[in-house]
């Protein structure tokens, strides 16, 4: 299933440094939302605050409200682990577990939580997830080899497989395709299209074409200068952002005339 996300007055800090300021937005369920913006504007930072991954960094903290289907994930009574089981994440850098085989990596979400799966169940999960991530054919003969022996792109797809294997409600992807070749990228884009039917997908990307291809809505972030906080400049339908942007800086950015 899928959940909507409402962000209210969110500020994200690294210690005393305000990295992202005053975000207000509503992210639709069963849709793909893309975050774009220049490097360093806080896309990753904001994305990580959506599943409370931000706070694992020492000194990092968040102010404001972040509602998942109306429930504030930053409510004091909320367990971040519960949040993370509902909001999955794929990182910018592929990070398969080096001690695990490819199979174990895919099943990590279950195995690490101590879930007991029958052999057939786990076989099925592994195959479905790897197929969805367009990796099955390449690794089906070496499921018991270490995951770290794959190429960068293969590793990233393995991480995607690992995330979708646990079927979260919301999936966050931080430049998931930046290490992938066009074929894998296309496959992942297709996959995102499929996922969107059941999940809320949020993707950070530098590739405007990709944003245009996969997302229904696009959020443009920008930063006034170094040391300044990143801000949400414009958030709207993807077609609107790319064709009729309201803000000057958005227009500059999407047309490549920026900077």
């Amino acid at each position: 299933m899928s959940k909507r996300v409402d962000v209210i007055d969110l500020n994200v800090y690294y210690g005393d440094f305000l990295a992202v300021e005053g975000i207000n937005m509503s992210i639709d369920a069963q849709a793909v939302t893309a975050f774009i913006g220049p490097s360093g504007c806080g896309k990753t930072t904001f994305l990580r605050s959506l599943n409370r991954m931000h706070e694992v960094l020492p000194g990092a903290r968040v102010k404001g409200q972040l509602l998942l289907d109306g429930e504030d994930i930053y409510d004091p009574g909320v367990d971040p682990v519960t949040v993370r089981t509902q909001v999955g994440m794929v990182f910018q850098r592929p990070n398969p577990f080096p001690t695990m085989t490819i199979r174990e990596n895919v099943l990590a979400g279950y195995k690490l939580n101590g879930a007991r799966l029958s052999k057939s169940e786990s076989e099925e999960i592994v195959e479905t997830s790897l197929r969805s991530a367009n990796l099955w054919n390449e690794v089906k003969d070496r499921l018991d080899r270490p995951g770290s022996g794959l190429s960068g792109g293969q590793q990233q797809r393995l991480c995607i497989a690992r995330t979708i294997a646990v079927k979260p409600d919301v999936i966050l992807m931080d430049e998931p395709c930046s290490a992938l070749d066009p074929i894998s990228t296309l496959a992942i884009e297709d996959l995102i299209g499929e996922l969107q039917q059941d999940y809320t997908v949020i993707i950070v990307t530098h590739n405007m074409q990709q944003a245009a291809r996969v997302s229904q809505k696009t959020a443009f972030f920008n930063i006034a200068g170094t040391g300044k906080p990143g801000k949400l400049i414009e958030y709207s339908d993807t077609t609107a952002i790319f064709n009729t942007p309201q803000e000057k800086s958005t227009e500059d950015y999407v047309s490549g005339r920026f900077g």
């Binding site: 994930i73 409510d75 909320v78 367990d79 682990v81 519960t82 089981t85 409600d169």
Partner: protein, 311 residues
């Protein structure tokens, strides 16, 4: 999975709580143990510095007794460290970056064997092999470098000098430092090593740029571990050394270390006597020395914390 955010699974949360409480209590247990050791030492060493029938405090008498031992301990550990630390770092580097990769594991194993040798055996080896082997060296040093106070004095005829003890200690702490350094060196991120190599660094320059900065804290803690061992080593020193009063000479018999003094004196110290208290008191002194040494090391490491490699 579809449950509301707040009704999270109680057992999971409890698991986290229990585990973190466990780790915390392990840490606290260590502190408590140490506090008890300190208490034990302090209480039992009271008689060494306070004697009713000698007019109360006898601190100077105790200090007169203790300072040669302190200096002796420091000399022996210092010799050990000077000898062992560079070689250990070299060996660790050899294993991690120089030896043929196929053999490096086995070579590491071979060096670990040095740690496998019990201190009694080191003591016996130092006493019956190393000491006699060093006699001519001491003679030579005395003849040619006798003008340096370190090599003045009659060269020992048995080889049982503080220098021999230092060498034995050096051999003993070598594998400790090596093994800590090796593990850290191996962990140096390939990314950073390759960054250096790609800039045209030679192997040594790569090590200076990537490995050492990354391993810095690890090297220091390895050395501290070794130093701790050297400071506290009892049996080997007691067997190797021919203890005596403090001398500046490294090549004649004399000098003693705190642990050796305790080991040699404690068995015959009359129960509850001032002598027993004295021995425990120098144990306390050693404890304080370790404290100081570690404070220094911490200080060195912390000065460079901002650029620590593990992030």
């Amino acid at each position: 999975m579809t449950s509301s955010l707040t009704q999270s699974d109680k057992r999971g949360v409890a698991g986290d709580r229990v585990f973190s409480a466990l780790t915390l209590s392990a840490g606290v247990l260590i502190l408590l143990t140490l506090a008890f050791v300190a208490l034990f030492l302090t209480v039992n060493s009271r008689d060494a510095v306070y004697q009713e029938d000698q007019g109360g405090w006898i601190l100077t008498a105790f200090l007169d007794y203790a300072y040669p031992l302190v200096i002796g301990t420091l000399i022996a550990s210092f010799i050990a460290l000077i000898l062992a630390a560079p070689i250990a770092v070299g060996v660790a580097l050899y294993i991690s970056h120089y030896a043929p990769p196929r053999f490096s594991k086995s070579i590491g194993y071979v060096i670990d064997l040095l740690a496998a040798i019990p201190s009694v055996v080191y003591g016996a080896w130092g006493m019956s092999f190393l000491g006699p082997a060093l006699i001519p060296v001491y003679g030579w040093l005395h003849e040619n470098l006798g003008f340096i106070p370190l090599f003045a004095g009659d060269p020992s005829q048995t080889g049982r000098t503080i220098f021999t003890a230092g060498v034995v200690l050096g051999v003993m702490i070598l594998p400790i430092i090596t093994s800590v350094c090796r593990e850290i060196f191996i962990q140096t991120p390939k990314l950073h090593e390759e960054a250096a190599l790609a800039l045209g660094a030679t192997r040594w320059e790569m090590i200076k740029m990537s490995v050492f900065p990354f391993a810095r804290a690890g090297i220091i803690s390895g050395i501290m571990l070794g130093l701790g061992r050297a400071l506290g080593e009892t049996m080997a020193v007691a067997l190797v050394l021919s203890p005596g009063m403090l001398t500046a000479s490294l090549i004649s018999s004399g000098n003693s270390t705190i642990p050796a003094e305790i080991a040699l004196g404690f068995p015959e110290a009359p129960p509850g006597s001032e002598r027993q208290a004295q021995l425990i008191a120098i144990g306390l002194v050693l404890f304080l020395i370790t404290l100081l040494v570690n404070m220094t090391a911490r200080w060195i490491v912390s000065r460079h914390k901002e650029f620590s490699g593990a992030n």
